[in-house]
Amino acid sequence: MFACTDPASLTGLHWLACYLTTGKHVAFYASFGTVLALLAITAPLALAFGFGGAIAARSRIAPLAWFGRFYIAIVRGVPDIAFFLFFVIALDQGIEWLRHKVKCPDWDMPVRQGSDFVVCAQAKLPLGTDPQWMHEIYGFALAVLTFAIVFGAFSANVLYGAMRAVPRAQMETAEAYGMTRRQAFRRILVPQMWVYALPGLSNLWMVLIKATPLLFLLGVEDIVYWARELGGSKTPNFTDYPHPDWRVWYFLALLVFYLIFTKVSEAVLDRLMRRLTHGQAVSGATMP
């Protein structure tokens, strides 16, 4: 194995091998796991939000339908980045405010004092006394929820369209068989809508992959954070591995990572689409 005890004396590949296995680089590699974890948690959650939104938009109860339509419409008129920045603070403050109301009912000062948001110490989340990893988990959870809300709206749009794309005759047949609205929805509409939803959902998956670097803006130590951190020029005073500004190479590596990731996703989704449309009378091949 390599010996990395005296980095200053190393040269060439040996130096590089030692450089690329420092503790900080291992943290950098681990942050790719953060990105994948975000995708793995967010995708089903966003789908659930989207399903809820689509059902709400179809509801026969007017306020619920308005809410669903508003949820679908608003995210498309406003940049998603604005939502990311908004929800991360808004959710944090909302949760703390609720906890504040419950835990400190006899607090008499206003919560907003000029430029400060003040809640009692017990309502802080995570508590000031909590260990560092709790803060990181909490930050990550907020990011996941934010992603789920924004991408939930996009997927609500897709699912809403897919539900309307199921041929009307199918639902009429279900009614003729005496199914209730709810039964027809569960037994006929939901199983059939996926094939119509899949092109939109696979597009959304690609958009979601390409939105993951925005984690950086939500204050999570993700790959962008580490690429900036590790790539910046280092002087011998602070590190055993001094080097000039290498950020361009680190971001090139991220670029390649994403290109491979999207390429693989595309291939998998294509196969899935072909499998699902096998024998079905929809033109799945011509979808975007």
Binding site: G77, V78, I81, A82, S115, F117, K210, L217, Y258, P288
Partner: protein, 268 residues
Amino acid sequence: MSCLQTIADYGLRSIGIGERLLPRSDFTLCQQVTLIGSGMIWNVYFGVVALCAGFFLATLLALGRTARPAILRKPAEWFVFLFRGSPLFIQFFFAYFAFLALKGRYAFFDPFTSAWAGALLVLFCNTAAYSGEIFYGALRSIPRGDLEAAEAYGLTGWKKFRRITFPTMLRLAWPAYINEAIFLFHATTLVFLSGFPAWQQRGDALYYAKYFADKTFNPFVPYPILAGFFILLTLCVIGIMGAMNRRLNRHLPQERRQALRLRPNFLR
């Protein structure tokens, strides 16, 4: 300070005209609306210039992808793959640091380390790749009969392209292109959050909204203002490009004209 005075001071702050210092405390609603609105100048600049310039490259890319010789086809395919397959955010970072590294060697790259040229170049390539893909799809779905009819009339080469292929491609691509335009304008908000520095605090709308949200720790005022401005901008884009859509479709019989779907879909 009256609101008119605030507008005079900060209305063009994002391009460096007016008061030098940003307000530091006791923010009024008027200040927030004015500064965020002032930042919209940058969003409109990036969006309009990238879209107009990107249109031409997109057409070339679409034609390149349909070309038979691999020497034309491959570069177009790679370009589209490169810009559609990676996140815009990473592209911004990469471009910024690449320009920064090149600047030391060649003075030519000097302007590209500032947002007005560097970020614009990235947005231009990005939108060209996405619209190129849209145009390519439209090119492939031009009815064969239209092209055969053109040939029967003796139209060939450039003339056929200019009078038949190109207008039909635009007509078919336009609804998706409007969608692309809307999300390009949304994407311009990323510029100052990625490496590109906002020189003398001249930033875009989101830059100022973030400034206020960070200073007041209250996201419930600046972000809705930003949302309002962007909804207005989106409506303008739909209005202008919808008018173009009507012009592109004006020769079709009434019932064959596509009703424009006014629900943008995130298709980037």
